[in-house]
């Protein structure tokens, strides 16, 4: 699949935003490391919402006809893309109510109820983002429950790093934040490793034989019938060399998981805490972006069978 940069930015930024908001709620409930102040919670919450809005806006850049984008909320009952949009829209007012109840010192039950609802909605929205890809039967590398799991784990991992940076800036006790982040990042790394392992073996997939129905003998492409590329070759023809992909997988693990881990040790050791936390966030987000690029680049759509691939 052709990796569209607007979609990569969108999924990384909104994933981090939703992750940050839900973890902020947890930090608020349990007053982790002494607890953020009122202003700090509001700033953190607004920043998370900013990331979400930025992501949603960037996703409209890949639309060829954005003036109809508002219609995307209408097929909630069947389309995961529509669901994602609707959930993100429901998330916004709930998040605002939660932040307002912090600001105006609303009763605790109100504040926590809305915080909880917002966190659940954030979870559902990121899950829907993953399901947009996972529900496609046409792409073997996507049609697995590991995809929404990866989207959630990486979104929360990025969010937890942002939250750790917040805790460092706010001069809280960083230990609980480091513990949370380390746990989530480990889970994300393990899930990603399983995913990479899983998509390596083709399993039961369509072949050029079932695609053409000529199952009694070998089939090979003689001619695609078009002179230059078509929409199909531009959108689905993209292929990443195996070696390059392996290299990028190492980059994902080093940048996305290992480096933030090392930086967390530095934060824990109280060495240049702020710098270390900033590097952790940057590395985590960069790792997630590479991971997302690879997620698209490695996906092989079955239409490639008609263009000569023996299997996808």
């Amino acid at each position: 699949m052709h990796p569209a940069f607007s979609v990569i930015f969108f999924t990384v930024a909104s994933g981090a935003g939703f992750g940050l908001f839900s973890l902020l709620f947890i930090a608020d409930v349990f007053k982790l490391g002494g607890g953020f102040s009122r202003e700090q919670l509001i700033i953190g919450g607004l920043m998370a919402m900013g990331l979400v809005v930025f992501g949603l806006l960037s996703s409209t850049f890949h639309l060829a006809n954005p003036k109809n984008a508002w219609r995307a909320f209408t097929r909630f009952r069947t389309s995961w893309l529509s669901r994602e949009g609707v959930f993100a829209m429901v998330f916004m007012p709930l998040a605002l109510i939660y932040l307002a109840s912090i600001w105006f010192d609303a009763p605790l039950w109100l504040r926590e109820t809305f915080g909880f609802l917002t966190a659940v909605l954030a979870w559902i929205t990121v899950f829907s983002t993953g399901m947009i890809y996972a529900c496609l039967k046409t792409i073997r590398q996507w049609n697995t429950p590991l995809v929404p799991a990866n989207y959630l784990a990486l979104g929360y991992a990025s969010g937890s790093l942002l939250l750790l940076l917040g805790a460092v800036v706010a001069e809280l006790d960083t230990t609980p934040y480091i513990a949370m982040s380390a746990l989530i990042i480990s889970i994300a790394a393990v899930l990603k490793a399983i995913y990479y392992f899983w998509i390596r073996s083709p399993g039961l997939t369509p072949t050029i034989n079932t695609a053409t129905g000529l199952t009694r003998a070998k089939v090979k492409l003689l001619d695609t019938g078009h002179t230059h590329g078509t929409f199909l070759t531009q959108e689905f023809g993209f292929q990443v060399a195996r070696q390059r992909a392996s290299l990028l997988k190492i980059v994902v693990f080093v940048l996305g998981f290992a480096l933030p881990g090392v930086m967390m040790v530095w934060v824990f050791d109280q060495q240049g805490q702020q710098m270390a936390a900033i590097v952790a966030v940057m590395a985590g987000l960069a790792g997630a972006a590479v991971e997302r690029w690879l997620f698209f680049a490695e996906a092989r759509h079955v239409v490639n069978l008609y263009h000569g691939a023996q299997r996808c």
Binding site: L63, S79, I132, T138, K218, V219, E235
Partner: protein
């Protein structure tokens, strides 16, 4: 009704006439134009509803060329419709034709990802998704003579490799042909239940080739002379 096409892979000569006729009719049809990019340039490309690819089956000396036209299969379980977030893609309950409402489409490409058969193509100039309409603006046109109320590609095909009809009617020509010739749908394992059917290439009787006889003295002199004479 369940309208669709039957394509005879045994007969198709791969002339691309159906693709041209499709483009001609639909460029000015309900969801036209079908934009071309650099039609006379170095990298000609554009929107087509019907594409013909060419394959080789088996290996020499048992190989056979199979020409393979593909357009929308008007699937029974069309994921392209369910994934569409705007409701632009829809399947008509009355005849099973899958269409795209050009006024609603936002050009997100999602439906093209969901289509296994490469039937959907984005028109970069209108920013909307387009695909085969089964010539919905021909087949019901009361102004056309009855025999012309068929898709453009079907009418054009010089080899009569294409048929159009109702698959819900077990006695229709398409249903009968599919039954008799063991017509099949493509990639059944994905469960889209495509309506269009393909008829497999026939196994032809092998024509025996007799080894050339040696011939007598006369024959060898003739061959020798033939070699000498420059033609």
């Amino acid at each position: 009704m369940r309208l669709g096409l039957v394509i005879d892979l045994d007969v198709c000569v791969g002339c691309h006439a159906c693709a041209i006729a499709c483009k001609e009719w639909n460029a000015s049809g309900t969801i036209g134009p079908l934009s071309d990019y650099q039609p006379y340039g170095a990298e000609p490309s554009g929107v087509w509803f019907n594409r013909i690819r060419h394959y080789e089956m088996d290996e020499y000396p048992n190989n056979k060329t199979v020409n393979f036209p593909m357009s929308c299969m008007h699937c029974e379980d069309a994921d392209c419709v369910t994934v569409c977030p705007t409701g632009a893609s829809y399947k008509r309950p009355e005849d099973g034709i899958v269409l795209i409402d050009q006024d609603k489409c936002m050009g997100c490409n999602y439906c093209s990802w969901a289509c296994p058969y490469g039937a959907r193509e984005l028109d970069r100039s209108s920013g909307t998704m387009k695909k085969c309409t089964l010539c919905v603006d021909r087949i019901y046109d009361q102004d056309l003579p009855v025999e012309e109320r068929q898709p453009s590609c079907v009418l054009t095909c010089p080899a009569h490799a294409r048929m159009f009809g109702d698959f819900d009617d077990p006695d229709s020509a398409v249903s009968r042909t599919v039954r008799e010739r063991s017509g099949f749908g493509l990639m059944p394992e994905l469960n889209y239940n495509p309506t269009n059917r393909y008829l497999p290439p026939r196994s032809k009787p092998v024509i025996p080739v007799e080894p050339k006889s040696k011939g007598g003295l006369k024959e060898s002199i003739k061959q020798f002379a033939n070699k000498l004479v420059r033609r």
